[in-house]
């Protein structure tokens, strides 16, 4: 209580320390310490690997500690940070996404001509921010984590300085993001005012017995929700997503769509299942409406898209709607469903974007659905993997995506939300239409006459292969992954 920095604090904080340290180290190396630009090119990215390895070791130690002690959680900094199953699960998801995105960024940024080492530093620092979002149990930690992640992403989205689309994407994302953060913090101030503390556990206690329709609580809920829903790109706060996804460099888009969404979902769950739990009768119908609107907007807007990145952006929006459905269900299956969904969504969405990354080569941007034409003949491996990812995104068995959706539907039926379940299943059919537009382009259309071959690196092939394999495996034999999600259940 009185010690400034205990061993437990250090233990809990160690992954963040690793990430922050190596992130800053890369920034320093890139800016000052290595004068020779040619050496910088390959030397700086290498430092990502020790970062990831050491962070993984730190996470592993935390996991081992939890298992060996049989404890549910490790609390640090007077309850500001808590490592429990939930936090560990999400941290692993973030770390894996970081690894995969870092591997494929090298070649992609080379082609774009913006290969700067700070990109890797930003990735690590964003991951650090996400760590705080997953383990934070205090309003301050959560806010700082959110902003750290968001700021890194603002820069990463605008990384292609010469491209108008990238600038504009960064600007829109920044402005809307700052706006929603401000709303979020206003909500936090109201929570603080109602509870007298910023620690989530204290706030939860203070909220007990409050009327769900209490105006101050309602205002707090409304403003906080806007901020949270914005981050997961739920309608009607989704407007930034298509532009940001399209304009950003595709590696950032991949990272944004997967890791940022997972972190935001973790944040959302901490708040909605913590302080706002007492207001469930108030927010459940509202969130149901938001979820339906999100799925509607996401699915129907995707139908008309010709740009693959934008199409995947709208599909991400609809997936966010599905995750919200799990929250609305709110029982154990629902939460487990969200965890499973986040896990499978990571792999399948990353995989889809990785294939788009592979298509980027000299003078060809490769973002249009038409650019994928005839991919099955030119590169059957990539086409097959993309098919697997698209089937998974659509939710067709026996892929992982189907399992995620199945869990969500199961939780909805278990809690009696039949209408939502039916709507959710019907949108699966709608989604198939636009996913299969891409499949059609790859398999059924003829390739354009003179297309350059894909220059795929070992890293890219490894990353895509692993993602594809996991997407299929989780679908066919999901037992180990389901048990993994089971252990991440919240209290």
């Amino acid at each position: 209580m009185n010690l400034f920095y205990t061993a437990t604090d250090h233990f809990v904080l160690s992954p963040a320390i690793q990430l922050a340290f190596w992130g800053c180290a890369i920034l320093l190396l890139d800016t000052w310490l290595i004068p020779d630009p040619r050496k910088r090119r390959w030397l700086v990215p290498i430092f990502v690997l020790p970062a990831i390895v050491l962070t993984a070791i730190a996470l592993g130690k935390q996991h081992a500690y939890l298992v060996s002690e049989g404890a549910r959680e490790i609390s640090a900094f007077n309850g500001a940070l808590t490592v429990d199953g939930f936090a560990l699960f999400f941290n692993w998801v973030f770390l894996i996404s970081t690894l995969i995105v870092s591997i494929v960024s090298y070649r992609y940024l080379e082609i774009e001509g913006e290969h700067h080492g700070e990109y890797y530093g930003l990735i690590l620092l964003a991951n650090c921010g996400m760590f705080f979002l997953a383990t934070g149990t205090d309003l301050v930690t959560l806010f700082v984590g959110l902003e750290l992640m968001a700021l890194c992403f603002y820069v990463m989205v605008g990384f292609l300085r010469g491209e108008r689309r990238s600038n504009e994407a960064a600007l829109k994302y920044l402005i809307l993001g700052a706006f929603s953060s401000a709303l979020l913090v206003y909500g936090f101030s109201l929570f603080y005012g109602m509870a007298g503390a910023t620690k989530l556990s204290v706030i939860v206690k203070a909220m007990q017995g409050r009327d769900p329709w209490d105006p101050v609580l309602f205002l707090a809920m409304a403003t906080t929700s806007v901020g949270l829903l914005f981050k997961i790109s739920a309608a009607p706060f989704h407007m930034w997503a298509p532009d940001a996804y399209e304009g950003a460099p595709t590696t950032t888009t991949a990272y944004l769509s997967v890791a940022s969404k997972a972190a935001s979902i973790a944040f959302l769950l901490r708040i909605f299942l913590g302080p706002l739990d007492v207001a469930r009768p108030a927010w459940e119908p509202l969130l149901a409406g938001v979820a339906i609107l999100t799925m509607t907007v996401g699915n129907f807007a995707a139908i008309t898209q010709t740009n693959v990145k934008r199409l995947l952006a709208y599909s991400s929006i609809s997936h966010a709607g599905y995750m919200l459905l799990g929250l609305i269900a709110g029982n154990d299956t629902g939460l487990k469903g969200i965890a499973v969904y986040v896990l499978v969504y990571t792999f399948m969405n990353l995989g889809a974007f990785l294939v788009v990354i592979a298509l980027r080569r000299q003078n060809i941007i490769g973002e249009d659905v038409a650019d994928l034409a005839g991919l099955a003949k030119r590169h059957p491996g990539y086409a097959l993997l993309m098919l697997v990812f698209l089937l998974s995104l659509a939710g067709i068995p026996p892929t992982a995506g189907f399992l995620g959706k199945y869990y969500i539907f199961l939780s909805l039926v278990e809690t009696g939300h039949y209408v939502l379940a039916v709507i959710g299943t019907l949108y699966v059919a709608v989604a198939i239409y636009y996913y299969f537009r891409i499949v059609r382009s790859m398999y059924l259309d003829e390739a354009a006459a003179d297309t350059a071959p894909l220059a795929s690196t070992v890293g890219l092939r490894f990353a895509v292969g692993v993602s594809g394999l996991l997407t299929l495996c989780i679908g066919i034999y999901p037992e180990p992954f389901l048990r993994l999600a089971h252990t991440s259940l919240l209290k």
Binding site: E147, L151, V155, E168, I175, V185, F188, A197, T198
Partner: protein, 102 residues
């Protein structure tokens, strides 16, 4: 001596916040939009400090520090992005920055 009631601070904070939101929604220059966001964050700061004084705690003040730091960082990043946009387009009018279509 009575002191200013808490509700006045909160009302002021709400008004400032609303002004910020209005500025965000209706102004056309990016810099002004940014200023509105800063205004919103400062309104929140006011709210935190008021609550903190009410509870005789230090937590609210701490949160204010963090919000200020974040606002500063955001301003730095934001202005850098605005600069890049400006260099590529020579305009600061939000309505004209719309090459990313629906």
């Amino acid at each position: 001596m009575q002191g200013v009631p808490l509700s006045w601070y909160l009302i002021l904070s709400a008004i400032l916040f609303a002004l910020g939101v209005a500025g965000f929604l209706f102004r056309r220059s990016i810099i002004t939009v940014f200023m509105s966001i800063e205004l919103m964050l400062n309104a929140v700061n006011l709210s935190f400090v008021a609550f903190s004084y009410q509870f005789k705690q230090v937590d609210g003040h701490l949160f204010t520090f963090f919000v200020m730091v974040v606002a500063a960082a955001e301003a730095a990043v934001g202005l850098a992005i605005i600069l890049t946009v400006f260099r590529n387009r020579a305009t600061l009018n939000i309505d004209e920055i719309n090459s990313l279509k629906y």
